[in-house]
């Protein structure tokens, strides 16, 4: 996973035309790992296909 994330970050930076100074990579990687971990916490909770997203949110 570690090496894959490094490769992913380099490919994503290239594809998205984002600057990525080598000195920034460890912090970007750490932040991305945390965010993907949170995303996995969300994704593991199965919702029905009919579950609507809430991109425009009226309480």
């Amino acid at each position: 996973m570690t090496d894959k994330l490094d490769s992913y970050i380099e490919a994503a930076a290239e594809a998205l035309n984002l600057p990525l100074d080598p000195a920034w990579k460890p912090a970007v990687k750490a932040n991305l790992a945390v965010t993907l971990g949170h995303a996995a916490t969300v994704a593991e909770f199965a919702l029905p296909d009919e579950a609507e997203p809430a991109p425009i949110y009226k309480v």
């Binding site: 912090a27 991305l32 995303a39 909770f45 309480v59």
Partner: protein
């Protein structure tokens, strides 16, 4: 000269100015002098609008209707992501200093000034509001009024520092994931994050449109209510602002707890909390006779808020990252770059969960009217502190001060943060109500203030 008004409440100032016991000009002069004295220590202000404030105060003094203005002569300041006419809206950044100066004030500034308040300046904040510490690499940190070696909390750190430090009785800030409630907790003051869509965000610099809220800070609940009431009302210039009538809260504060059922959040909201946070929560719970309930999947809500924040924030700043990455605060830049790389499928899942979670939490309000929870896991950390240990796990301070605030703002619920005046440092508790029931949150907060359980401690300055 009619006494010292530098620790007066907004209500006291408005009453004194309205009745002619003191002039708005005199109050403004006192406040500008105290800012001049204290700001070099606390670094709460990034701009002081003295000339404008003096002119505004004189206009109020000359107004025949000043006795009817609910905030007559009340000085206030705003987080520097609010547009102030004539200033670039920096939002805590270096990059935005090159922006064209704002041609008009933010709507909430206009609404406060329409009720007699006097803008005295712009306040320090974490860069682009992606922060819970109050630190800023460009402007230096805003400092905690109870210990200048400690954090004010972020991202509305200057707002917390200025109100807690007696430089203004009232300030405005923004709260995307906790940025009103965290500084309120660390600086020992009251804060209100209203329902999502209640207060217009027009002419303020955004962060995460799905989650951004604006709201007030003060040293009493009545001041929160007075300012909040002055700012309500639909505004078509904010796409999220909901068209519903203003619902005053100040007239109902005295109703107290009468008929209100209060619960205390257990489970997730006790995990990782320091003894101070738990002690404050238990004191408030006891005073309110609160029974424990569980907010379901709060950890997942926090995770989803984290994902939406990272990605929407990255989308907002994508071009600036491409062109001016070196001009960002490195801590913000690295989080935003990472956010830009999160697959969109995962963001949609977070938004799917958001709707599900909203229904689950709203069901709890059939059984209770308000839920209390800690505002922060700890009292103010030292400036520069990078990590802390919660529940035996070492975590980064910057994203984790919002552990308990994120699952609540995620679904836009209104929250009053109330300070419990522990020594040597205060800590806050969240009073969470159902959507559009700011009145309930403020009534509970007011009752706690009356009981002496919640209070903004006056620092030794």
């Amino acid at each position: 000269m009619s006494g010292d008004h530098t620790w007066s409440t907004a209500a006291e100032i408005a009453s004194a100015v309205g009745s002619g016991n003191v002039s708005a000009a005199e109050v403004t002069a006192q406040i500008l002098a105290v800012i001049d004295r204290r700001n070099p220590v606390f670094n709460a202000f990034t701009a002081v609008t003295a000339e404008r404030a003096v002119a505004r105060a004189r206009a109020i003094d000359a107004s025949p209707g000043k006795s009817k203005l609910p905030l007559a002569g009340v000085p206030f300041a705003v987080k520097n992501l609010f547009d102030i006419e004539g200033l670039p809206t920096v939002a805590g950044s270096k990059i935005n200093r090159a922006r064209t100066p704002a041609s008009r004030d933010a709507v909430l500034i206009e609404r406060l000034e329409a009720t007699g308040a006097v803008l005295v300046g712009a306040l320090n904040m974490g860069e682009y509001a992606y922060d819970f510490t109050g630190e800023n690499v460009h402007d230096g940190p805003s400092r905690n009024p109870h210990d200048p070696a400690r954090m004010s909390g972020g991202s509305s750190g200057g707002s917390g520092s200025a109100v807690g430090g007696g430089m203004v009785p009232l300030a405005l800030g923004s709260d995307t994931n906790g940025s009103i409630r965290v500084p309120s907790s660390l600086c020992g003051i009251f804060g209100l994050k209203p329902t999502y869509g209640r207060l217009t965000r027009a002419r303020s610099f955004p962060f995460v449109a799905s989650l951004d809220h604006l709201g007030p800070f003060a040293r009493t609940v009545r001041d929160l209510a007075l300012s909040y009431d002055a700012m309500q009302g639909f505004d078509a210039d904010d796409a999220a602002c909901v068209d519903r009538p203003a619902e005053s809260t100040a007239p109902f504060l005295e109703q107290g707890l009468n008929g209100l059922r209060v619960a205390v959040a257990g489970g997730y909201f006790r995990k990782g909390a320091s003894p101070e946070a738990l002690g404050a929560l238990d004191t408030v719970a006891k005073a309110l006779n609160a029974r424990e309930i569980e907010i379901p999947h709060a950890h997942r809500a926090r995770a989803a808020a984290y994902v939406i924040t990272a990605t929407e924030g990255a989308a907002l700043h994508l071009e600036r990252l491409r062109r001016q990455a070196g001009d960002f605060d490195p801590a913000v830049r690295d989080r935003l770059i990472a956010g830009a790389m999160v697959p969109s499928t995962l963001v949609v899942k977070a938004q799917n969960f958001r709707r599900w979670y909203r229904e689950a939490v709203l069901a709890l309000f059939k059984e209770c009217d308000a839920i209390i929870a800690p505002a922060t896991p700890v009292t103010a950390p030292k400036l520069g502190q990078v990590n802390f240990t919660l529940d035996g796990v070492e975590l980064s301070v910057r994203p984790n001060m919002g552990l308990y605030t994120q699952p609540i703002s995620f679904i836009g619920l209104p929250v009053a943060a109330v300070p419990v005046p522990l020594k040597p440092l205060p800590i806050g508790v969240q009073i969470i109500a159902a959507p559009w029931r700011e009145d309930v949150a403020l009534r509970v907060a007011y009752a706690l203030e009356k009981m002496g359980v919640a209070a903004a401690p006056r620092p030794r300055l």
